[in-house]
């Protein structure tokens, strides 16, 4: 007689926990694994270690910045890929609306209103705004603030723009 009752209360408990967990991960913060070497010096510094296993970095993604969509140059963000909505990419913002980008191939590109220019730290193998163009800010779904795993690399992620040789940013005069 007690088994259905027990199962029911267990299911209710899990459902509640899931609901609250989903809300927290949507609105405040969540964890995720970073794959690939496009952000290499900052995240996933060595994609393969001596044993041949690949260890991904786990990072803390903060979602509070989505309330106002206020970002600054140098923030590492997670955004949905413009060419495939199921994929999420991790890149660094180097320019905000109104900035001008100097590229070797094209003259200068002005970042349009509501968009940003993202670049991977490992410029050699990174699919970023140089091929995709400016990214709408609405596609961004979080900002990476901390590395939480592996243990020797726990700490804050620095939000400085690394010196990328191929990108020259001139900020908007306000």
């Amino acid at each position: 007689m007690t088994t259905p009752n027990f199962l029911w209360s267990l299911a209710k408990k899990y459902f509640t926990a899931g609901l609250i967990g989903l809300t927290i991960s949507d609105r405040y913060a969540s964890f995720m694994a970073v794959r690939g070497s496009s952000m290499s010096p900052t995240l996933n510094p060595d994609s393969k270690n001596s044993t041949g296993f690949v260890f991904d970095d786990y990072v803390l993604v903060e979602k509070l910045c989505l309330e106002k969509y206020k970002f600054s140059r140098g923030d590492i963000v997670v955004f949905r890929s413009p060419s495939n909505y199921k994929e999420k990419n991790v890149k660094r913002i180097v320019a905000l609306p109104g900035d001008r980008i100097g590229l070797p191939s094209v003259d200068t590109v002005r970042v349009p209103e509501g968009h940003c220019w993202v670049v991977g730290d490992n410029a050699a193998c990174s699919m970023d705004s140089r091929s995709l163009g400016p990214i709408p800010l609405g596609l961004i779904c979080g900002r990476i603030t901390h590395v939480v795993w592996p243990p020797q690399r726990i700490g804050k992620v620095d939000s400085k723009i690394s010196m990328l040789p191929c990108v020259h940013v001139s900020e908007e005069q306000t």
């Binding site: 609250i20 989903l22 809300t23 609105r27 969509y69 060419s83 909505y85 509501g114 709408p136 609405g138």
Partner: protein, 175 residues
Amino acid sequence: MKVLQYVRQWKSAAKEVVGHSILLAQFLSLLHVTDTYIFSSTLVYGPSMLPTLNFTGDVLLVEKLSPFLGKVGPGDVVLVRSPENPRKTITKRIMGVEGDTVTFLVDPGHSDRSHSLVVRMWMMVPKGHVWIQGDNIYASRDSRHLGPIPYGLILGKVFFRVWPPQDFGPLGQWD
């Protein structure tokens, strides 16, 4: 003795507070999950969807599951996060999905009157993008100005109109 009694009293009060706050958190979470994953209501106004939606303001029910499952196709009225300002949302109709070729008039208001020439263009919608257009092509800022929109910006599919009362009912693909 007095201390023990005090502790017991405090314990029951704390238990009550925790119980109430869990109930509140549960309620708010349910609200949030329903709002982001199942459906929500929204108020839209403006001239861009004029024959279908009113100028003064309509309250619509927006269903969030179909864009999540990839079941949004041509003809659907969708709620989209504006690419120009991420804090704003716009309501438009999907005219084409990835791989489709869309034809459109660049500036119908001008080309009809002052010039005899009608500028008609065609374009192939790139991968992972959609082409959105307002029903009122004379007063709508949409893919003709902004280009194809990434699918990830679609927030939901409009399926029901609640307000004004004379238009209460489901909102079909093409009216």
